[in-house]
């Protein structure tokens, strides 16, 4: 396989899209964990 900028761009774009989406899941999970900790503090 020779270097092809379009091929590289397409594969990179696909993984960037997936990584950005996965990072939103991780950030939502972190936010939820903080909310759970706050709820535990309020209840205790």
């Amino acid at each position: 396989m020779r270097g092809n900028p379009y091929l590289f761009a397409a594969y990179a774009a696909a993984w960037i899209i997936h990584i950005v989406y996965l990072s939103t899941i991780v950030s939502r999970y972190s936010r939820l964990k903080r909310e759970i900790e706050e709820l535990k503090k309020i209840r205790s």
Binding site: M1, Y6, A10, Y11, I17, H18, L22, E35, E38
Partner: protein, 231 residues
């Protein structure tokens, strides 16, 4: 189930790596387009994975409409969200492939391209409805929208049979033909994407369950202490 996730994650990572190697190195080079044709091994499996997820969304939405099952509602939401991500990959990799092959990024008015964009917009609308509507009827409205959206999937896939288009014929169930080695690489990539999508959906499902539990806890907290704002 918690122990199975890292094992499945590792196996999926290995499969994705192998599929990438097959696509970039092992697959034969197409004679007309050259190496740029290898975009096919990400573009087409991403489309098939998106269609599979939209089908799951359709079935889950029907189940929710019939039985009002909250788990079906979560599956519908999660499959639509991950399906939109894969559909985005299709809409991004397609023009990158089209530019060197057709000489243009986008063929305005082309039925396959336009219908795929419309399909993506329908499911983005679905997600916006789910995200910003606070009505109790939101899951029902979203499920109805999902049923209508799913009707577009066969239209997108088979549109190139019925209309003149610049897009090639479908590899499966159409008039196109493919080298068996290329088909092998294509199917490996699809399997890898399906496994990856399953794991992402699983994570997202757990996250949504947790979100609903936290929302419920906030609501209970507000009832117990109506003066204080917990958020």
């Amino acid at each position: 189930m918690k122990k199975a996730f890292p094992i499945l994650g590792a196996l999926t990572a290995i499969l994705l790596g192998y599929a990438l190697y097959e696509a970039l190195v092992a697959a034969p080079t197409e004679q007309t387009m050259g190496d740029v044709q290898r975009i096919f091994y990400y573009h087409v499996p991403s489309a098939w994975t998106a269609f599979t997820l939209f089908l799951i969304n359709f079935v889950a939405s029907i189940l929710y409409l019939v039985r009002r099952n909250p788990a079906a509602d979560i599956i519908a939401l999660v499959s639509a969200e991950v399906g939109v991500v894969f559909c985005t990959v299709v809409l991004v990799t397609g023009p990158i492939w089209a530019r060197p092959v057709w000489g243009i990024w986008w063929a305005p008015g082309d039925i396959r391209l336009t219908s795929t964009l419309v399909l993506w917009l329908i499911y983005v609308s679905y997600l916006i409805l789910r995200r910003f509507s606070s009505s109790g009827q939101t899951p029902t409205l979203a499920a109805a929208l999902a049923v209508l959206g799913a009707l577009c999937v066969p239209f997108v896939y088979f549109s190139i049979w019925f209309f003149r288009t610049q897009h090639p014929q479908p590899v499966m169930g159409g008039g196109g033909s493919i080298d068996p080695r290329m088909l092998h690489v294509l199917l490996i990539n699809w399997l890898a994407f399906l496994c990856f999508a399953f794991l992402v959906c699983w994570s997202r499902y757990r996250l949504e369950e947790l979100q609903r539990d936290v929302d419920h806890a906030h609501a209970m907290q507000s009832l117990m202490d109506p003066r204080g704002s917990v958020r």
